[in-house]
């Protein structure tokens, strides 16, 4: 059974189709990238996958997380899936964290929920510090006591990743997780994500507009345009031999910027 099985997903805002007949499967341990520019429907697809589509949008088709249908599911049923099957890291770590809670308390919450679910006791203080260490935060003791505004953007994203890991999800969904970060910070966070996903044998749905970033982290890609998948396949294959004109155009633009850096502009 696939961890995530999206079949014929269509998302509408009134008459307008924002995502059209999208199908996509992620098996345990597999890494899939969703590439698209603004308005391509990539973030809506991620939100649909975890049952968080904004009100006013209607979805049809099927989205199954570990066999359970997400579309039309009750909040109660969805809460059981989120955290156990999947956890999400969003683009903007400043809005993903509660500004009024110290970092340690925010990381402790998913830890406690997991412990309750598994029916076991948890030494939250110790596990919070262990998680902050796993995401390579310096001085975990200090960070745990800090408020989100007191740490840097890269550190905040590490905290958000720690919270996602606290759930021990089988599938990590990362929606533009490095887009709001400086380039040197982005490189560190990508390395961290790559290592964590590998160590835990998690599956990964990685959403980004940035082609080289996607290429470096996933095995399969889906190229989205105006809500439609224009091309799907192994990353190496698509980057080497794109079939769709749109993919070719994107790759050519990305390679042109690369060439400039090599001094071949």
């Amino acid at each position: 059974m696939s961890l995530l099985d999206i079949a014929g997903l269509t998302v509408r805002a009134g008459e307008r189709e924002l995502v059209s007949a999208l199908s996509l499967k992620i098996e345990p341990g597999q890494r899939v990238g969703l590439i698209g520019e603004s308005g391509s429907g990539k973030s809506l697809t991620a939100l649909a996958a975890i049952g968080l589509l904004p009100r006013g949008l209607t979805a049809s088709g099927s989205v199954r997380l570990n066999g359970t249908e997400v579309l039309g599911a009750s909040d109660h049923a969805l809460t059981r899936l989120r955290g156990t099957v999947t956890a999400t890291v969003f683009q903007e770590p400043l809005t993903a964290l509660d500004p009024l809670l110290r970092v340690g308390r925010q990381v402790a919450e998913p830890l406690r929920r997991r412990a309750r679910r598994d029916g076991r006791d948890v030494d939250t203080d110790r596990e919070v510090l262990a998680l902050l260490e796993q995401v390579a935060l310096p001085e975990p003791n200090r960070i745990a006591r800090a408020f989100p505004h007191e740490i840097s953007g890269g550190q905040r994203q590490r905290v958000a990743i720690a919270m996602a890991l606290a759930c021990r999800p089988q599938l990590l969904i990362a929606d533009e997780p490095t887009t709001a970060l400086d380039v040197t910070t982005q490189a560190e966070i990508l390395k961290l994500l790559d290592a964590l996903v590998r160590e835990r044998n998690m599956a990964l749905l990685f959403i980004s507009h940035d082609l080289p970033v996607v290429a470096g982290i996933v095995d399969e890609v889906v190229v989205l345009r105006h809500g439609r998948a224009v091309e799907t396949g192994p990353t190496g294959e698509i980057f080497a031999r794109p079939q769709a004109d749109y993919t070719r155009e994107l790759l050519a633009a990305a390679r042109a910027f690369d060439a400039g850096l090599e001094g071949k502009a």
Binding site: V183, L211, A215, R255
Partner: protein, 250 residues
């Protein structure tokens, strides 16, 4: 001929902390210069000094040999004739209630430039790759890339000597970004350009000279190709190494 010269420019929003320190570089007319830095590097503050929106706490900025003094109204009037800017967000930098004609002709009115404004606007629109027939439309009818073209048309309509661009392609999608970079490159061939960006690959595609900023100081500056092929400072090296690259096609 030197168009812009900065000598030991420093700036602090508070007296305790300097946002910029020891900034010196010269910019010959016709050159395109990239100011590169990450968040907190001081690149936007430096641009604000160049626009005359803030005064340096120390040092001097010279434009055509004259010191830039935001308090000197006669100089600032001449300076505004010569300097125009393009900003990051094409959605917030155009007045939604004005037509393209009103938006693009604004510098002509503000600077009291004589002549057929409609004709000058049409020429500017053509120069940025838009049909002159769009002048009666409003910003909402345009995509992000087209809006940025309108903002660029407004910046060049009064034929400034210096164009300042602040992350002017950062909010654009890749396929749009490459076209707007090409437009800037074309315009830079007969204008002096200062392009502020966090994105080394954009600046590499566009600028002859680079200034790399870190925490308010210049860590490295020089011709773009030299810096890219042989970065001297550890920070420049890590910046360059951090840019994600496309996989090699096999």
């Amino acid at each position: 001929m030197t168009l812009l010269a900065l000598e030991d420019v420093s700036f602090g929003y508070t007296s305790e902390r300097q946002t910029l320190a020891d900034i010196s570089f010269t910019l010959p007319a016709g050159t395109s210069l990239g100011l590169v830095g990450e968040s907190g590097s001081g690149k936007t503050t430096l641009l604000r000094l160049l626009l005359g929106l803030n005064r340096p706490s120390g040092g001097t900025i010279r434009f055509n040999g004259e010191p830039l003094d935001a308090g000197d109204r006669a100089f600032m009037r001449r300076y505004r004739h010569q300097v125009q800017a393009v900003f990051q967000d094409p959605y917030s930098s155009l007045d939604p209630r004005q037509t393209v004609l009103r938006i693009v002709s604004e510098p002509l009115r503000a600077l009291k430039i004589a002549g057929n404004h409609r004709k000058l606007v049409e020429d500017a629109l053509t120069a940025v790759g838009l049909e002159p027939s769009v002048i009666g439309r409003y910003p909402h009818a345009f995509s992000g890339g087209q809006r940025q073209r309108i903002a660029i048309a407004r910046a060049i309509v009064a034929r400034p000597a210096l164009l300042l661009a602040d992350e002017a392609v950062s909010a654009l999608d890749l396929s749009t970004r490459i076209r707007i970079v090409e437009l800037f490159r074309r315009l830079a061939s007969d204008m002096t350009l200062v392009f502020v960006s966090h994105d080394l690959s954009v600046v590499a595609a566009l600028c002859d000279e680079l200034v790399i900023l870190q925490r308010g100081k210049i860590v490295e500056s020089g011709p773009t190709q030299e810096i890219l092929s042989n970065p001297q400072h550890a920070y420049t090296q890590s910046l360059l190494a951090s840019v994600p690259r496309m996989p090699v096609a096999v």
